[in-house]
Amino acid sequence: MDDAQPLRPNAPAADRLLAHYRTMARIRAFENAAERLYNEKRIPGFVHLSTGQEAIPAGVCANLERTDQITSTHRGHGHTIAKGGDVRAMMLELFGRAGGYCQGKGGSMHIADFSIGMLGANGVVAAGMPIAVGAAHAAKLLGRGTVVACFFGDGAVNRGPFLESLNWAAVYKLPVLFVCEDNRWAATTPSASMTAGPGIAARAEALGVRTASCDGNDVAAVDDLAGELVRKVRAGGGPLFMIARTYRWSGHTSADLGGYRNPDEVARAKGDDPLVRTRAQLVELGVAAGELEATVAAAESEIADAVAAAERAPQPRLEDALGEVQDIGAPRFARRMRQ
């Protein structure tokens, strides 16, 4: 769970960058495994992969305390890992097994880990935004002093809750860092073709929320910007908004081969791999190639262990489908399922 701890702000550049690299390598290994498992029909449902976007959660979450909170999206595996989540519990959930994060009731789109302030992936675009605002409102009411990082994509800016959430957060000066992961695609539609006006930043600025943007494939740039913005948000200045430009390597879901995209566009994006870039920076800082290879190997081995554990894990019992619905008026287990 080292990743849940904020890195020392004065850590030598190489140490800090190496930690980011490790986080990104773990996300990459998880996404690669999820994609393979889907293709081999070893997991049910679909997964939304964040391959190519790893630098954003790694750089943002490195600036959060364990008690800080995040809200995530349907493309949320990376957010959970960067916030310090348990890859084994997440992999069990992808398999729908007992012992998974959600006991098999949620799957990839509903991963949550409240013990580390991960308030949930979400199957509905922009739905995490008002939840983040409410979490921040609660933090303010209770005097907790924590901040909430709210991840969402470029597609979310066309939904009403985007406007409602930013407006509210600004009116009440709530401790929220809005993090727009601009991967240029809203499901299978290019965002630019469906987003009027001068762009995402202008929308936030129009609501009085200051924005800043960065190259979302440069983890050091994400880290620097997020660090500055989280400090300001924590100091009580109200919400801030960062835009991290990136690209979604895969289709919208694992079932979507993304054939509607120009292959050159995809190839160019893959040539701008955040892991490759970080690796080059680390080599330049004098980190040995062997250490970098060992980092990747360790990540892959950790994920392979998680997959093996998930395949061994028991299935949930059918009667558990009726549990955790509600206290008052809950389904009647015994009568319907155990007879």
Binding site: Q69, T71, G100, Y101, C102, Q103, G104, K105, G106, H110, A112, D113, F114, L119, G120, N122, G123, V124, A127, M129, P130, I131, A132, V133, G134, A135, A136, H137, A138, A139, K140, L141, L142, G160, P161, E164, S165, N167, W168, V171, G323, E324, V325, Q326, D327, I328, G329, P331
Partner: protein, 319 residues
């Protein structure tokens, strides 16, 4: 016991809970001036604007923020003026609040109270007059309460605030001024229990909210015809009290369910079908035609079940 109106009973219930538990807060539209129906009158002065929190007209954010705040250790009470406007927050209520506990495998609780001023009032027409209890009954994860008396209003709002589930509180707009005796303090809200308002052995009449009074009036008329109607105030839509209704129907062998909501796929259908399946009793439903609520009083009458109509239906069952 104190005599008070429903609006006063509900105001006191919220104030009592806010005094008792500092994590209880209210958020929503126009709280500054006490809410549309003055059900929050004086609360902002007592508890301050942080705990009686004015919001923009942003129902999705109100509901969504309440979900977030509820998952993070507070107990929000949500105000969106009219039931109809909570539909602007359908995703936040249905996809988030109702499902968070389940989807996250029991990690989360969403202890919110969604106050929904319901039903006909002052000829407010199609977007301010609906009765949608069947929607909430259909939605796993939600609790739906429909008080008809000041005592129930007081006890149920308090119980709703203490409940760890998301609770819809259907508060009929024509009942705000109804007065009755209220036991303040720690009354038992008896969630999930119906109340037999009047005993009878010939026909069981089930209703809730403003329709209970209509059925009680019908029972008076039926008594003059020597028909003993047992009138039951359902009180809670989900969970609903099958036991009491089955016991009553076992005695009367006839069930009439009456509601203001549209008849088609209304909650009366669930009750009637359950009773018919369990007992084979004769069942009948009364509800509104499947039309939007019209404006003109002459047209709005299509949504008002009258005592005469209820009595005639009961008589038809009993004969």
């Amino acid at each position: 016991m104190t005599l008070m109106s429903i609006v006063e009973a509900s105001r006191r219930a919220l104030a009592d809970e806010m005094r008792r538990d500092p994590t209880v807060w209210a958020l929503g539209e126009d709280l500054r001036r006490g809410g549309v129906f003055q059900q929050y009158k004086g609360l902002q002065a007592e508890f301050g604007p942080a705990r009686v929190c004015d919001t923009p007209i942003s129902e999705a954010a109100i509901m969504g923020a309440a979900v977030g705040a509820a998952m993070c250790g507070t107990r929000p009470v949500i105000e969106t003026r009219y039931l109809d406007f909570t539909l602007c927050a359908a995703d936040e209520l249905v996809n988030q609040a109702a499902k968070a506990r389940y989807m996250f495998g029991g990690q989360a609780r969403v202890p919110i109270v969604v106050r929904q001023p319901t039903g006909l009032w002052m000829n407010c027409a199609a977007q301010h007059s609906q009765s949608l209890e069947a929607w909430w009954a259909h939605m796993p994860g939600l609790v739906a309460l429909a008080p008809a008396t000041p005592a129930d209003s007081y006890a149920m709002l308090k119980a709703a605030i203490r409940c760890d589930d998301p609770v819809i509180l259907l508060e009929h707009k024509e009942l705000w001024g109804v007065t009755g005796e209220v036991e303040e303090g720690e009354p038992d809200a008896r969630l999930g229990q119906a109340r037999i308002c009047r005993s009878g052995s010939d026909v069981t009449i089930v209703a809730w909210s403003a329709t209970v009074a209509v059925c009680l009036e019908a029972a008076e008329a039926l008594a003059r015809d020597r028909i003993g109607a047992e009138v039951i105030d359902l009180r809670c839509i989900w969970p609903w009290d099958q036991e009491t209704i089955l016991a009553s129907t076992a005695k009367t062998k006839r069930l009439l369910v009456v509601h203001e909501a549209v008849l088609a796929a209304g909650f009366g259908a669930e009750i009637a079908a359950s009773v018919a399946e369990a007992t084979g009793a004769r069942v009948k439903r009364l509800g509104s035609p499947r039309i939007p609520v019209p404006f003109s009083p002459a047209l709005e009458a299509a949504f008002r079940r009258t005592p005469e109509e209820v009595a005639a239906a009961a008589l038809g069952l009993a004969s």
